[in-house]
């Protein structure tokens, strides 16, 4: 990792600190940056040559009538142009490419960091926002390198160069023409303030227009049902009008700025003409120098008026880099410990030992609570929120309010190669259990262990690669069928094919236009739900996990596919420790143990037959969720009668 870890004191992050970190990204490209700066300086010098050559031409050749000597001046002029062209191209190319490489590094770091962040981070930060970090924000920083800071340096050198040459030509005349500069800065300052203010205004109204449209288009049918069309048209026209007004104010600043700049430039020219003209008449200045002066002073204004725009780029880049570093500074909460367990063999023994878990840690406001708590929560004991200190249980005395926990007192073991089904209503805590086993989150109390070792002591990669997760909603990556089975692992084509054959996915894959090399799209729209299921089974099987974690899909598929899925499932679970969120009757009938969850607690446990005999909660769930499947297996009940 290239970014230095010296930002431990995150608060009080200053522009200077940000800049320093940004410079850190420049370091690997120091040579290119240095060359680029040299080129800029050279360029600023070369660009000064033109007017000077004009002076030479006028004074030494034109006014003296030396037509032949003009050729050599013209030759020099051409040379200067060629050099300038070459330098400018080289400078642009080098700087732009350096900017690109720096952005490449930055994107790589952000992306890598995103891979390390814990799953819980993604619960809170929407994907769209994080994507902005990798793309838009990085681009804003890029502007800093390519058009912002660098050209500012270029402009500064040009300015200094022009000033130097003018002073050298005639320092008094130079000072006279510089007299306008303070006025110029005043004007630019007025413009910058005004334009920025009005720009902000317009941005605000654009946002309002967007919000209005978003709301009204989403609620169009309500609008129409309640005959509010005319009223809301008027309201829209009002927002639209304010947007128009704000823009007209912005136009005003631009409409004033450019003419006044020209006027100031004209004042400079007039001053040169009056003072310089008098000098020429008095013989203190050559005519060529006067012309050169006029040309120089014209070149003087452009860079200065650009400076204010560059300032905005700089600010945008700073804001963007602050967001980027903010992301990079977010510490991953779930990481491998220092001396992680990395056993060569995993048997797949799973145990949950008095596990308590909640997604959000409640605010541990000490003393006067700064964070508002729901009024009906009553006084809470602080003790319960202390993180578990290793194994063992805390006494029952200091129990936190149980309503915060999505899992409480969960204890069970699955011997190597055995299978367990989790059943229960929505929100009973089934998904949380498998998330804890994969260590997407860490428990608050108790321990989750694989092969007797707490998952928090495992090397994360080793732990997870000994398991395979199959989710309801199959996530496909863009790529081919084969690459979706093997993912990034080193799995040969043979094994991919064998896995697909074993779970009966081979048949439909073969029928695809390019077989295993068929491209799948992001959402996998070319594949049916059932096919995606089989594909994800093949993926799991190809990775040959010791522990299979499965969230069965509820979506209904046709009978034939259903049979394929059931057969594939049986094969997949064979010889592996399996933990299944069950939605299929065949699954609950075949597992070694069923855990019935209710509101985060294990309510009943046993085999299918035992639990049915108890006629408890499981029996009801069975009546509700599984009985239909039994009926459906016999023959499809069809809606028939129409009265």
């Amino acid at each position: 990792m290239s970014q230095p870890d010296d930002d431990a004191l995150a608060p009080g992050r200053t522009d200077f600190g940000l800049l320093r970190r940004l410079l850190g990204y420049l370091r690997p490209h120091a040579t290119a940056v240095a060359v680029s700066f040299l080129l800029i300086v050279a360029l600023a010098g070369v660009d000064l040559v033109g007017p000077y050559l004009t002076k030479v031409a006028i004074d030494q050749h034109i006014t003296t009538g030396d037509a032949a000597g003009l050729a050599s001046v013209a030759g020099l002029y051409l040379l200067a142009m060629l050099v300038s062209f070459g330098l400018r191209f080289a400078q642009t190319y080098i700087m732009q490419m350096t900017g690109q490489r720096i952005m490449q590094d930055m994107r790589r770091d952000i992306y890598a960091h995103l891979q390390r962040l814990h799953v819980g981070y993604f619960d809170k930060n929407p994907v769209g926002r994080l994507m902005t970090r990798v793309t838009t924000d990085v681009d804003a920083v890029n502007e800093l390198f390519t058009s912002g800071v660098v050209t500012v340096f270029g402009d500064l050198f040009t300015l200094l160069g022009i000033m130097a040459v003018m002073l050298a030509l005639d320092w008094r005349l130079a000072l006279v023409s510089f007299a306008v500069i303070p006025l110029f800065f005043l004007l630019t300052d007025w413009f910058r303030r005004g334009a920025r203010q009005s720009f902000r205004e317009t941005r605000k109204w654009v946002a309002r227009i967007n919000a209005f449209l978003q709301e009204n288009l989403s609620g169009m049918s309500v609008l129409q049902l309640y005959r509010r069309e005319a009223g809301n048209r008027a309201a829209f026209a009002e927002v639209n009008r304010s947007h128009y007004d704000a823009n007209m104010r912005a136009i005003f600043y631009y409409a004033v700025f450019y003419p006044v700049i020209e006027l100031l430039a004209a004042v400079a020219t007039a001053l040169i003409l009056i003072y310089g003209g008098a000098q020429v008449l008095a013989g203190g200045l050559t005519l060529g120098a006067l012309v050169a002066f006029i040309q120089y002073s014209e070149r003087f204004w452009r860079p200065i008026s650009d400076l204010s725009e560059k300032f905005n780029v700089l600010q945008a880049a700073m804001a963007a880099s602050e967001r980027i570093f903010g992301l990079l500074d977010t510490a991953p909460l779930v990481v491998s410990p220092e001396r992680a367990a990395r056993p060569p063999q995993v048997t797949g023994h799973v145990s949950f030992d008095d596990v308590w878990f909640q997604y959000e840690k409640p605010p541990t406001g000490s003393g006067g609570a700064t964070q508002p708590t729901p009024a009906d929560n009553g006084p809470r004991s602080e003790v319960g929120f202390t993180p578990p200190s290793g194994a063992g249980g805390l006494g029952g005395a200091a129990q936190p309010p149980p309503e915060n926990y999505v899992l409480s007192e969960i204890s069970f073991t699955v011997d190597s190669g055995k299978s367990v089904a989790l059943v229960g209503a929505t929100g009973a805590g089934k998904t949380s259990i498998i998330s804890l086993l994969m260590r997407f989150y860490d428990v608050q109390r108790g321990r989750v262990a694989v092969d007797g070792t707490d998952v928090r002591e495992w090397d994360l990669e080793r732990l997870r690669s000994s398991m395979a997760l199959v989710l309801q909603d199959v996530h496909l990556f863009s790529g081919t069928i084969a690459s979706n089975i093997r993912l990034g692992s080193e799995i040969g084509m043979e094994r991919v094919r064998a896995a697909a054959e074993a779970v009966a996915a081979h048949r439909f894959i073969e029928r695809l236009p390019k077989g295993y090399d068929t491209e799948v799209t992001e959402r996998g729209s070319t594949l049916s739900v059932g096919q995606k299921q089989l594909l994800s089974f093949a993926r799991a099987l190809a990775h040959d996990p010791r522990v299979l974690i499965l969230d069965e899909a509820t979506s209904s598929v046709d009978t034939e596919t259903e049979q394929l899925i059931q057969a594939a499932l049986k094969l997949l679970m064979k010889g592996r420790t399996s933990i299944v969120i069950a939605h299929r009757l065949s699954t609950v009938q075949n597992v070694d143990e069923i855990l019935v969850l209710h509101k985060g607690r294990i309510r009943e446990r046993g085999t299918h037959q035992e639990l049915l005999a108890r006629r408890g909660m499981y029996w009801k769930l069975y009546e509700l969720q599984y009985k239909d499947q039994e009926l459906a297996a016999g023959g499809r009940a069809e809606a028939t009668a129409s009265a």
Binding site: V73, V222, E262, Q295, M438, R615, E623
Partner: protein
């Protein structure tokens, strides 16, 4: 380029011909004056080669200042008028778009994504405005500057003019030719950026799978590849874009070189004066920007045309649901009938052979699994969707022949997703007519009063982003109150109380009972508890009515409804956690 879309703006532009004329007039004056000041400079320098009084220098200086000041005034006018014109047209066009959007029906919004429509009303609108403002301004300015400066240059020396114009024309060619390539390569860069975005999106939304299969390093490799490709494509872009600007500079320099060399010789040969020589150089420099602008404007126009096409696609969409020769009906009693109704979304049949007669004042409940067509059926009543002719009747009139305003005023429709505007609660409830009294009464019936009392600003509390966030149940009750406040003859609750807990729902329904007695009511629901007291319960499956009768009858029948009833009893037991037996 025929620009069919931009052409359609001609009438709107013609309506503003006064402003357009004034703006272009200011532009012409600006240009004329701007070519005058180098002329003054010319005389000043010529005088300096001879001998001149200081007074005359002051005169020249004063003249230059006066000219530039005057030019500034006109330039200011030009900008304000021409850019203002484009803003004005944008304003109108955007209003038109929104107005048209309010006329389009539910079907349009089912096939067009809102984000897409918004982008047309904002981004595309900007692109069109750029054509109308800067586009027109720079085109006119380029033409005027070109004509005026070249005329002055010709006046100085036709020969020198011809010699210097050659590299200048090359500039235009360069901008046009390379500009296209730059554009193409830029598109390639953007495509790769989109690719990279998709990759990130895919990775982040699959964060669990990536971690579960320990795919982080592989994913980093995949990204690194896309990242590398992006940089490679940028290199291709920079290689040619990097030539463009220095190239323009070089060609312009060739012009200056010609002036210096040939012009210098002409001064020596006394064909032109030194002042003319200097002024010529200034004129040449004045052409620099217009030459670049030309290529830029072409790009602008192309983009604007495409954008306007997308905007016109909205304006050209024909509102399906509108009044066509409506009957002169102003009040309705509320008797509803569906007669052998079939309905399809495109080729996909949704409703088949629905026949149902609901007397005024009675309550009918519709139950059935998701996707059975319940919502579609009730949406046809206020013509949110248009039924086929002669199938849906209110008071014996085909709904398609009733005035939309009358029909919709008579139907109080509470949709599945309760939509609230970011306005006060009062405004939301009194959406239709603004009657505060009725709004209060409606809020009482909808059991909203207690919640309102809990807010600091009561009924004037804003909801939405800049106000309080309501719970799902509160939102639904607000939407219900809104429908009640219109005092409708027909009340339609399209699964409108799903987010309210069963007890509150029962309270609401019992409060509504008096209201419902005098009105025709449609209750669409999954819940048996909601519908059990209805005068008639209709069970739908796959677009057909499969059972109908009262609660007891249907339970006794042992069909779908009876099964639903049994399941919901079970669910309630599981929810409360009671053990059976």
């Amino acid at each position: 380029m025929t620009l069919p879309h931009l052409r359609r703006l001609a009438p709107a532009l013609a309506r503003r011909r006064r402003a357009l004329g004034l703006g272009l007039g200011a532009l012409a004056l600006t240009t004329l004056i701007s070519v005058a000041s180098p002329w003054v400079l010319r005389h000043a320098i010529d005088d300096l080669t001879l001998a001149v009084t200081r007074q005359k220098l002051w005169l020249y200086a004063g003249l230059i200042l006066a000219l530039v000041a005057l030019e500034g005034v006109f330039r200011y006018q030009m900008r304000m008028i021409l850019v203002g014109l484009s803003r004005d047209m944008e304003f109108d066009l955007r209003n038109q778009v929104f107005e048209h959007l309010t006329r389009l029906g539910a079907r349009y919004y089912q096939t067009n994504r809102i984000g897409e429509l918004m982008s047309r009303a904002t981004n595309d609108m900007s692109a069109v405005r750029m054509v109308l403002g800067p586009g027109i301004m720079y085109t006119a300015s380029t033409l005027a500057t070109f004509v005026a400066t070249v005329a002055m240059m010709l006046a100085i020396s036709p020969r020198l003019t011809l010699m210097t114009l050659v590299p200048l024309l090359l500039v235009s060619w360069l901008v046009r030719h390379y500009g296209r390539q730059v554009h193409d390569r830029y598109e390639e860069v953007q495509a790769q950026l989109a690719e990279m975005n998709a990759l990130v999106q895919e990775n982040l939304s699959g964060a669990r799978v990536v971690r579960a299969y320990a795919q982080e390093p592989a994913e980093e490799r995949r990204f690194a590849e896309a990242n590398r490709e992006y940089v490679a494509r940028n290199r291709r872009l920079v290689r040619i874009a990097g030539i463009l600007h220095p190239g323009i500079g070089f060609l312009m320099g060739l012009g200056s070189l010609t002036v210096l060399w040939l012009g210098g010789r002409m001064v020596v040969a006394r064909e032109v004066t030194l002042g003319e020589f200097v002024a010529f150089g200034v004129y040449l420099a004045m052409l620099h920007w217009p030459m670049i602008a030309l290529g830029w404007v072409v790009n602008l126009v192309e983009r604007g045309e495409a954008s306007l096409g997308r905007i016109h696609a909205i304006l050209d969409a024909i509102p399906e649901i509108r009044d066509e020769a409506p009957l002169p009906v102003t009040t309705l009693a509320g008797e509803v009938e569906f007669r052998g109704l079939d309905f399809a979304y495109g080729d996909e049949p949704v409703l088949e052979g629905i026949s149902l007669k609901v007397p005024a004042g009675s309550t009918v409940a519709i139950v059935g699994p998701t996707g059975c067509g319940k919502s579609t059926l009730v949406s046809l009543l206020p013509r949110l969707l248009d039924p086929p002719e002669g199938r849906v009747f209110v008071d014996g009139h085909d709904v398609r022949r009733l005035p939309l305003a009358t029909l919709r005023a008579a139907v109080g429709f509470v949709p599945q997703e309760s939509f609230l505007f970011s306005a006060t609660l009062r405004e939301n409830v009194a959406l239709a007519d603004g009657s505060a009294e009725r709004a209060l009464a409606a809020a009482r019936i909808a059991q909203l009063e207690k919640d309102v009392a809990g807010f600091a600003q009561g009924f004037d509390t804003r909801v939405g982003e800049r106000g309080v966030t309501l719970s799902g149940g509160q939102r639904q009750r607000t939407a219900l109150a809104r429908a009640l406040a219109t005092d409708p003859r027909i009340l339609v609750l399209d699964d409108a109380l799903s987010a309210v807990d069963t007890e509150t729902e029962e309270e609401i329904l019992s409060g509504l009972r008096g209201f419902m007695r005098q009105r025709t009511t449609f209750l669409v629901s999954h819940r048996v508890s909601t519908v059990k007291d209805a005068d008639l319960i209709v069970v739908m499956r796959e677009g057909r009515i499969v059972e109908r009768g009262r609660h007891d009858e249907l339970v006794a029948q042992g069909g779908f409804y009876a099964e639903l009833h049994r399941r919901q009893l079970l669910e309630r037991e599981i929810e409360t956690g009671e053990d059976a037996a």
